[in-house]
């Protein structure tokens, strides 16, 4: 018995294959692309079923999110309190909450639904920066409940706001606390804002936001898959996972199910182990890879975040005079990991937010590469938000790729302009045009759940560079729609060393398609984020967003 062939006609097929950029039909066999072309051309492969369900749709290669975290799925266990509208895994769009009163009102509804009892209310996504950077105090949250503990994890992921009950249960409703992460009110009691991992950990368990819940969360992992379908994503990186055995087993099992809709690329995070253990573990994991779960890649954090003032930046430093940020690994550790990874052919992605961290990566990597030369290593700088032109030139020389955080331009661009790095450097942030001009392989990302998963939105950010106040932040760094579409497909696939399998629609590749109602090349630059997504085809399997 020969395998069946399905041929899909479509309104338009944007293949991202430069040798055959457009087609009217695509043929699929065994979950792979048999070919893209006209019906007559494809008919030469023999018998086929003609499936016309996409006849009025536009097909693109399945989108590739090169930097997200599967925990985005888990967060939908909690109440969304963000400033911007956000769509949950079921497709419901939760309207953004534009004031503290609106946040309190939503939480009150939840409190009412819960009825009697003292179970906690857990929420996420709050970003007081849009309320004029005001403090959301326990007094505000006490308006929701004084009986239940209540906690909101803020959008940055680095701050938690809690009510008085939560402080009481954590033993923190007392005077005499001295900690930079726990601001105090005029009476010397904590305000309810808990900053940094240590302060957050003290209250997290009492408000149901324990980090341990997230590590191998099967429910959340399934929700993440649903979000991928809604956003046209068929492959997503889970960019920093400690990957304990139970998490790996869970991911292998679920991605192995017949109807899990996304290929997941988890990178093992460098934390709590030595460089050698990291490399050994990654080599072990690599052997467990399947088509749908690609293991054996490595992620290192070199520094912190720009808006948290923990990124390492070069002179002249932070615009508001804040001291330089923190290193999360020593230069020696970076060097050792790079050297070992080059010897064992492991792909390493390095988080560098500030330009000093980027410089350190380039310096240490250059030394490692001289010692252990390797062609086509594809080491990638992640975020790399502040890199200047000279650094992009070095990246090109060293053969590194870059995955820029274009969503930051929209979400925090105004704050970067006014507060963190000042106008000039804010305008060069996430310099997509410079990367392309200097010939550095480029991807762009959401870092979900930090910002929502949605490659068309990310592409819109890179193309328009517009902030919520209407500012165009760095007009010279805007890129074309075609370049942005490249970055969210084959560009991202290249940084993951998967461009030979995914990222374009061409013979031999996985049958991964984003199925669209609108043509992203025709909708107009300003509306790129509004491209309507019908669903995906993943490995030849059809997933409609409406049914997921």
């Amino acid at each position: 018995m020969t395998a069946t062939t399905t041929i899909y006609p479509a309104r338009r097929i944007l293949t991202m294959n430069p040798a055959n950029p457009e087609a009217t039909h695509v043929a699929v066999r065994d979950g792979r692309v048999l070919g893209a072309g006209t019906l007559a051309e494809l008919a030469g492969w023999g018998d086929y079923d003609l499936d016309e369900r996409f006849a009025d749709k536009v097909l693109m290669p399945g989108l590739v999110e090169g930097h997200s975290h599967a925990t985005e799925g888990s967060f939908w266990r909690y109440v969304y309190c963000g400033y911007f509208d956000r769509t949950d895994p079921s497709g419901k769009t939760w309207p953004g909450l534009r004031s503290i009163d609106a946040v309190v009102a939503r939480l009150r509804e939840v409190n009412a639904e819960l009825g009697e009892g003292d179970s906690p209310i857990s929420a996420w996504g709050l970003d007081p920066i849009y309320f004029g950077d005001v403090l959301v105090s326990r007094g505000d949250l006490d308006r929701v409940s004084t009986d239940r503990p209540l906690g909101i994890r803020q959008a940055s992921g680095h701050i938690m706001s809690v009510n008085t009950k939560a402080l009481e249960l954590s033993g923190l409703l007392r005077t005499g606390i001295e900690h930079p992460g726990i601001p105090l009110d005029t009476e010397g009691l904590p305000t309810g804002e808990m900053k940094g991992p240590d302060a957050m950990e003290l209250v997290a368990g009492h408000v149901g936001l324990d980090r341990k819940v997230m590590s191998a969360d099967e429910w959340g992992f399934r929700q993440f898959g649903r979000l991928c379908v809604r956003q046209g994503v068929t492959t997503a990186a889970d960019l920093a996972n400690p990957l304990p055995d139970d998490a790996v087993d869970m991911m292998l099992r679920i991605t192995g199910e017949a109807d899990y809709p996304a290929r997941i690329i988890p990178l093992r995070r460098f934390q709590g182990v030595t460089p050698r253990e990291l490399i050994d573990r990654s080599r072990e994991l690599r052997e467990k890879s399947t088509d749908m779960l690609r293991l054996g890649r490595v992620k290192i954090h070199a520094d912190g975040s720009i808006q948290g003032f923990t990124a390492r930046i070069r002179w002249p430093g932070y615009y508001n005079g804040a001291p330089n940020g923190l290193w999360y690994a020593t230069p020696e550790q970076l060097q050792e990991i790079y050297e070992l990874a080059l010897q064992h052919d492991l792909l390493v992605h390095t988080h560098t937010n500030g330009d000093e961290a980027t410089e350190l990566m380039l310096d240490t990597f250059e030394r490692a590469l001289q010692k252990f030369p390797r062609a086509d290593h594809r080491f990638t700088l992640q975020h790399c938000q502040l890199a200047d032109t000279a650094q992009f030139r070095r990246m090109k020389k060293l053969g590194t790729c870059v995955n820029l955080f274009s969503n930051h331009i929209f979400y925090w661009g105004d704050q970067h302009y006014e507060k963190t790095v000042g106008p000039e450097r804010a305008q060069r942030m996430n310099a997509c045009a410079t990367a392309l001009r200097e010939g550095v392989p480029l991807a762009i990302h959401s870092d979900a759940p930090v910002t929502p998963l949605g490659p068309f939105f990310t592409a819109w950010c890179a193309v328009n560079r517009e902030t919520p106040t209407g500012r165009i932040l760095g007009e010279a760094e805007r890129i074309s729609v075609a370049d942005a579409l490249h970055a969210i497909t084959i560009g991202a696939a290249y940084t993951l060393k998967l461009d030979h399998e995914i990222g374009s629609i061409e013979a031999g590749k996985r049958a991964d398609f984003a199925v669209l109602e609108d043509d992203p090349t025709m909708i107009g630059e300003a509306k790129l984020k509004d491209v309507r997504i019908w669903g995906v085809v993943q490995g030849g399997r059809v997933f409609a967003a409406a049914d997921i």
Binding site: D198, Q271, T274, R312, W327, Q333
Partner: protein, 307 residues
């Protein structure tokens, strides 16, 4: 004080990668002499504990000869401290080793969030051979500076690998960097436990005889002082912690004008005073220096000045 858990003293051990933090911890474990030390390390890494000291090991805990133990805290110091706090018989003294780029003062601040724990002191280990180079390195110099700023005691380790000129240059640089801290030179981090942790001093108070030198050693010296009349404990502690006396540690009980007895302790530049748990007829303090001899006359003068 039945029912009330005793506070657990914590020494934070910081310093850049390769300075000798692990060597110091193993040295202290080897000389714990009945003291049950707990050790929290950032990661288990390559042999955090010398193999001959290990009794057993699982994923999370290494059990060590003499009732000591070692756990790793990774990204979650608070959870590790809470776990320790819950133990039926917690250690007598806790050592927390920071990561190579960790900031010891940030660790100390977080430790203080859990009431049971008190910071005994912050020790920063530095590699005498490379400290000046690290202090000038574009990338890490401010991290090195922040680490040293946090130190009550700096151990200049691997002193044997350098010449006198490097050592004195390093000391000069260090004085500019962290003027108040005490600087101890060492080889293989071999500094006596009593000097660093102030433990094992208690029996000294029970001696029959009064003031005098009680212990002399090439690298350090301890002396007991009698404090008869009421003193101002805070003022005395602050004086004893001053750079001029160059004492590594002091510990004692002193009577105050309110008729109560107070515990007084200094660790390098750090000092603390709290009501003593027991009452004793007379006050006494033990002073330890690493630059013998102890200036007994001056200390006696200070005691009478604050009386």
């Amino acid at each position: 004080m039945a029912g009330e858990p005793q506070s657990l003293p914590v020494t934070v051990i910081g310093g850049y990668l390769g300075a000798g933090k692990t060597t110091l911890i193993n040295h202290l474990l080897r000389h714990a002499d009945g003291l049950r030390l707990g050790v929290l390390v950032n990661d288990f890494g390559e042999l955090p504990i010398d193999a001959d000291l290990i009794e057993s090991q699982d994923d999370n805990v290494i059990s060590i000869t003499g009732g000591c133990m070692c756990c790793s805290y990774g990204s979650d110091l608070i959870a590790a401290l809470r776990d320790l706090d819950q133990l039926p018989s917690p250690p007598d003294h806790l050592l927390i080793e920071t990561s190579g780029v960790g900031l010891p003062d940030a660790i100390a601040q977080s430790v203080r969030l859990i009431p049971r724990f008190t910071i005994d002191g912050v020790i920063v280990v530095a590699d005498t051979e490379t400290l000046l180079k690290q202090g000038a390195d574009t990338y890490i110099k401010d991290t090195i500076e922040r680490q040293l700023h946090a130190a009550d005691i700096v151990i200049l380790n691997k002193a044997d690998l350098t010449d006198e000129e490097t050592r004195s240059e390093t000391r000069r640089w260090l004085t500019g960097m962290a003027p108040d801290c005490r600087v101890l030179e060492s080889v293989n981090a071999e500094i006596p436990l009593s000097v660093l942790l102030g433990r094992g001093l208690d029996p000294l108070f029970d001696r029959e005889h009064g003031a005098g030198h009680i212990h002399e050693h090439a690298t350090h010296e301890a002396a007991i002082f009698q404090v008869d009349g009421p003193v101002a404990p805070e003022a005395l502690a602050e004086h004893l912690a001053s750079r001029e006396l160059n004492l590594v540690r002091t510990k004692g009980f002193v009577p105050a004008s309110d008729g109560r007895l107070y515990t007084l302790q200094t660790v390098g530049r750090r000092w603390s005073v709290s009501p003593a748990p027991m009452q004793k007829a007379e006050g006494r303090i033990v002073c330890i220096t690493h630059t013998p001899p102890i200036d007994a006359e001056r200390i006696a003068g200070i005691i009478s000045a604050v009386s």
